[in-house]
Amino acid sequence: MEGSKDEGGTLATTGVEDEELRSLLFPDANNLPEVPPSAVEYNFVRYYAIDFLKPGHDQYVYRHANGLCVVGLAPTHVALKEEGGVTSVDFNVGKSDRSEMKVTGKRKRNAQHFETNTALCKVSANGKEFIVRCCVKGSLLEVNDRLLKQPDLLNSLADREGYVAIMMPKPTDWLKIKDSLSSHEDYKKLRGLV
């Protein structure tokens, strides 16, 4: 099935020749929104921890329907306002280097259990250091080690590819912390965003 240069829908380009099938595949153009919801908006519920332990330390917690939480810097975090932006990220905080740990298996039994205040990493911007914390109590499944080589991800894509870590809280622990977090709407209002 080679691709060819023509733009039309022929067998050569699409691998689909059946007319009936092709008609099924094409969407109703009138129903297409101008900007569709992003994968994050569609699959997660967005929560925010505002002024977490320190003023201006705003973080997000994206919770998936399966209970996993993606944690990162909210757009209004002070570190992102520094001149030059974030220049480096170090996961070696607290008692261990978070980027060294390897979680294995379906049950993820060897994951470390952290509290809401536990430090995940420190972020350097304009000569200052900012601590990023878990915000939820639970097992740490993964840290975004791409931040080591590409700290700049935090400057442009902190809300997506620049996420910091993935946590797995127990259902009861989530229920306890949930109410102390703000919804996306409340966050926007509080921070005066559009």
Binding site: G3, L25, S38, N66
Partner: protein
């Protein structure tokens, strides 16, 4: 019930000759027969005198053994067993010694060199006396068991006839359509012990006799094989079918709790530790065969660990140890076995390809907290239709891969198998055609099937084989954060066999291992959507096991490269359809 009787033991060859001449008086030139055993024809007198002489050698405790077990002890094979009723008359014609069988006598001893005897029990007194059953087979080869309906046990009926009729009735009751059957038998290990005890007893007594090695060390039928041989012809007659290795199984499970318990404790006393424990394990589910249990055990001769342990212990036991553990010869038995008869058919398979047109129908039944996700499932729509036509117990759905609930399965469809347990009938081509129509013409029209057909077990391996190598083809509706250019289209089309690495997607990370998976995108092509500059259809062909949605939106950078990273912008996927599952099956 067939009676136990006293019978002089004759040479094996004699019995075989006897088979051929049930009514005849032909003489038998049997050079191998024991010199003083009963012979036909002209040698009668010498044998007779020898017999009278030996009358004094009566053993103290006579031993009840049924006719078929007697046959077995002496290596009789073949058609003798299928004779419906081995009455005295039949034996007489075998032995041609009417004088030695006094129908109303209590016990007869007939000692002769090379002969032993077993007890002769009285037919007309059975209602008053306590019944005795064969010490070896505990009534199995007498077609007696504790669960018989009393009314059937009248003396003029032929036991094996009643026995086989009862089985046939069970089959008919469930309205099975069969084209054959095979019989499976499960017996308590105590029977093996009984047989060994009798053999040891006879060996001890007659080892020194000339005829012993000729007769006794022959191959002989087991109780199971004798049971099968005895009943097969009649079952074939009642069921109208031939017995061979067939998917329709009739399972006869015999148990004798009393005798088994005695055996267990005798053994346990002589074994140590783990052996004793395994032997003493209770066979709770013996009479209670679940369907799954039956399937699991259908190839095995024993039902459970305890039986297997007992048989192993017996096998490994030396004769002198055996003498210590058991009574030789075995004690009399006053109760026959319990019998549970079950019949079932081995699973049948119906396969084909399915298409799914709805984004609200899951492939398999999906429940979360007792609530169904989605409207319906392919599994149930297809499975229930097939199950009802086959009149089976339950169905299992197996598919070559799967798609999310919101992903449609189009094109040639995805191969699947429905496994039907214990079907009462096997659907014909016409039946299958009707099932297809019913599913396809349903008004909701969420699911369609193609190339539906009955298949054998080989389809199973075909499905699984090469599943990981198979390629799948998709069409995705993609949006990007800027306008599409011609350069983009060429860029995408030029990529062949692109390697990507996918970390376990966040949406399944809660239940799957965190891994990095290498996958291949074989080819891609963009089809423009005329009314939009930022939406397009992405056609792609990928290795099995690729997460397509994550390949489009990048899963926060955890799938790399992704459509977004290739085009240098944000990409989102709105909908996904599977357009082809490339497999060599059900095409």
């Amino acid at each position: 019930m067939e009676h136990t009787r006293a019978i002089p033991i004759l040479g094996e060859k004699m019995y075989r000759e006897g088979e051929k001449k049930r009514e005849g008086n032909a003489s038998v030139r049997d050079l191998r027969a024991p010199p003083t055993a009963f012979l036909f024809g002209s040698n009668r007198h010498s044998a007779f005198s020898g017999w009278k002489q030996q009358r004094r050698n009566l053993p103290a405790a006579p031993l009840p053994v049924c006719a078929r077990c007697i046959f077995r002890l002496f290596g009789v094979l073949g058609r003798a067993y299928s004779f419906p009723s081995i009455t005295d008359a039949v034996l007489k014609s075998f032995l041609e010694e009417p004088d030695n069988f006094h129908s109303n006598a209590g016990e007869i001893g007939c000692g002769a060199n090379g002969a032993t005897f077993v007890q002769f029990s009285n037919s007309s007194k059975e209602t008053r006396n306590v019944q005795q059953y064969c010490s070896i087979c505990l009534g199995i080869l007498q077609f007696a068991h504790q669960d018989q309906e009393l009314m059937k046990m009248s003396t003029n009926r032929v036991p094996v006839d009643d026995f086989t009729l009862a089985i046939a009735e069970l089959v008919k009751k469930e309205d099975y359509h069969i084209d054959g059957f095979s019989i499976e038998v499960s017996m308590p290990p105590v029977i093996v012990a009984n047989e060994r005890a009798v053999r040891l007893y006879m060996k001890k007594k007659y080892e020194s006799e000339e005829w012993f090695s000729a007769k006794f060390l022959h191959e002989h039928l087991s109780v199971k094989d004798a049971l099968r041989t005895s009943t097969t012809a009649l079952l074939e007659k009642h069921l109208g079918d031939v017995s061979d290795s067939n998917s329709f199984r009739i399972r006869l499970t015999y148990s004798h709790p009393e005798a088994s318990r005695r055996l267990q404790s005798s053994l346990a006393n002589n074994l140590s530790g783990k052996g004793a424990k395994t032997v003493m394990k209770n066979n709770v589910n013996k009479a209670n065969d679940s369907y799954e249990g039956i399937l699991r055990n259908s190839e095995q001769q024993t039902c459970n660990e305890s039986d297997a342990a007992i048989l192993r212990a017996l096998e490994g036991m030396q004769d002198h140890v055996f003498y210590e553990c058991f009574t030789v010869p075995p004690d009399k038995t006053f109760k026959p076995c319990h019998l549970t008869t079950t019949c079932y058919r081995m699973p049948i398979y119906i396969g084909g390809r399915y298409l799914k047109f709805s984004r609200n129908v899951s492939q398999t039944c999906w429940m979360v907290d007792d609530e169904r996700i989605g409207e319906a499932s392919v599994e149930e729509i297809v499975g229930k239709n097939i199950l009802s036509v086959c009149r089976g117990d339950n169905y299992k759905f197996h598919a070559a891969g799967r798609e999310d609930i919101d992903v449609r399965m189009l094109g040639s469809g995805r191969p699947f198998l429905i496994e039907i347990a214990n079907s009462r009938r096997i659907p014909s081509k016409v039946d299958i055609g009707l099932i297809s129509e019913k599913i396809n013409n349903n008004d909701q029209n969420h699911v369609r099937v193609r190339n539906l057909s009955l298949i054998g077990n080989e389809a199973w391996t075909l499905m699984r084989e090469g599943e990981a190598e198979k390629q799948k083809q998709y069409a995705a509706l993609v949006w990007i954060s800027r306008s599409l250019t011609d350069g983009d289209m060429q860029n995408i089309s030029s990529l062949k066999d692109l390697d990507i690495i996918q970390r376990t997607p966040i949406r399944v990370l809660h239940r799957r291992s965190p891994l990095e998976r290498k996958r291949i995108i074989h080819w891609m092509s963009i089809e423009k959507i005329s009314s939009s500059s930022q939406y397009f259809l992405l056609h792609l062909c990928t290795q099995a096991g690729t997460y397509i949605k994550e390949f489009v939106h990048g899963d926060l950078g955890r799938t790399h490269p992704s459509v977004g990273s290739i085009l240098g912008c944000r990409a989102e996927i709105l909908q996904l359809d599977v357009t082809d599952v490339k497999m060599d099956i059900f095409n």
